[in-house]
Amino acid sequence: MMEGVRDLHLDDGITYVGAPEAELEALTRVHTTKYLDELESFCLQGGGDIDPDTYARSDSFAAARRAAGAGLEAIRTLELQGEGVAFVPVRPPGHHAEADRAMGFCLLNNIAVSAAALAEKGQRVLIVDWDVHHGNGTQSIFWDDPRVLYVSAHQWPLFPGTGRAQEVGGPSAVGLSVNIPLPRGATGDIVQSAFEQVAQPVIGRFAPDWVLVSCGFDAHRADPLGELALSTGDFSQLARLVRSFAPGPGRLALFLEGGYSARALRSSTTAVLGALLDVEVGLEPPTSGGPGREAVASAQTAQILAMAVLQDGGANSERN
């Protein structure tokens, strides 16, 4: 990751911020105290397998708290500087972690901790999730929270099994979960159209104060865990698109999630940050022609139906 940052040759254009452990108060905005206590004690006893994917060691709770704290610190820095873009390249990742459950390599939901901190200050937060997997944890945490709009394009079916287009939010937040499930092999043009056609109208109405990105790079075609077909050129275009969602400078932060090809992690990092900072970098050509147009159209229909329910004053929505 950091080699990908160094490839930008920004030198003194980068401000490095620390990653202090997130305060308990910040964590309990999104996680239950019972879960935090159990996770801490599990780690202190030496850790082990939490599920077939998720493992913790004795120092994992502290590491996860620092990962969550890095996001808070990055946001704080943006608030102070009022300009720039924050990139939070931390592990363990977060978007699968639910209020009371670790899963999918995730212990604490880093992006949710930052979003909840901003929401508590009265800010409206958009979370864009372009990781190849659906962010079940982030969605469930903000399912019924009208202060946060969650938008995800992801391969489906795939782990974690959530993220159908019909999952549109709880009674107080109908239409504020936007899911665009895409078939394996979907190319960059499909992902771009998913965000433009399905999500952009909702984002326009929501008018976010902040844009946080669950910036997984496992939708890259070289990734061993995902089967979407994106290139670094596609990530560059997606980065420009999410920048356009932010209301102004200093309101965009990207949080690393998945991404399991070291080469793709490096080149995709360079591509995304290069696009956001207007630095010329070498890119793989954008991809097109893959499957998924029907899936985008279906997701669009689901959103239209959600808005119709909302306008009718109904509050029925489907949750996976």
Partner: protein, 140 residues
């Protein structure tokens, strides 16, 4: 109590899950219910990177038939997700099962820890009855 028409059982190939499958199949056979055998696939197994051996449908059908079931009433489902979430979804449409059965401990879980225990999380979150089958009492 309403009749049991459909039962879901979690199966990861572990001895506990085999015991749960035998118990669930016996119950389904005597209740003339259908049985959905659910294998949840995580991130690593989906990518073929898991160290564990994936269970096979033939083994599942053999155990169910030995327990008295007609093979046509057994459905083998491989679903993405963690085991708890996958089994919780079985109570929703289109599956709408009446009962969920699991072994006391799955293959990825170690003794002595409450965290990550599928059976305990299921009990905490499920909206339908859950049966936890201990390994040593596998006969119905």
């Amino acid at each position: 109590m309403s009749a049991i028409d459909s039962v879901a059982v979690g199966f990861d190939g572990s001895n506990d899950s085999r015991a749960a499958l035998r118990w669930a199949a016996s119950l389904a056979a005597s209740s003339h219910a259908s049985l959905k055998v659910v294998h949840a696939v995580g991130l690593l197994e989906h990518a073929g990177l898991s160290g564990q051996v994936a269970p096979h449908e033939e083994v599942v059908r053999e155990i169910a038939v030995d327990a008295g079931m007609d093979s046509s009433a057994v459905e083998w489902l491989v679903v993405d997700g963690d085991p708890c979430s996958a089994l919780l979804r079985m109570s929703e449409k289109p599956y709408s099962v009446d009962l969920v059965v699991v072994g006391s401990r799955g293959s990825g879980e170690h003794s002595g820890s409450l965290l990550g225990s599928t059976s305990l999380e299921l009990v905490e979150h499920s909206s339908i009855p859950v049966v936890i089958v201990p390994l040593q009492r596998s006969s119905f």
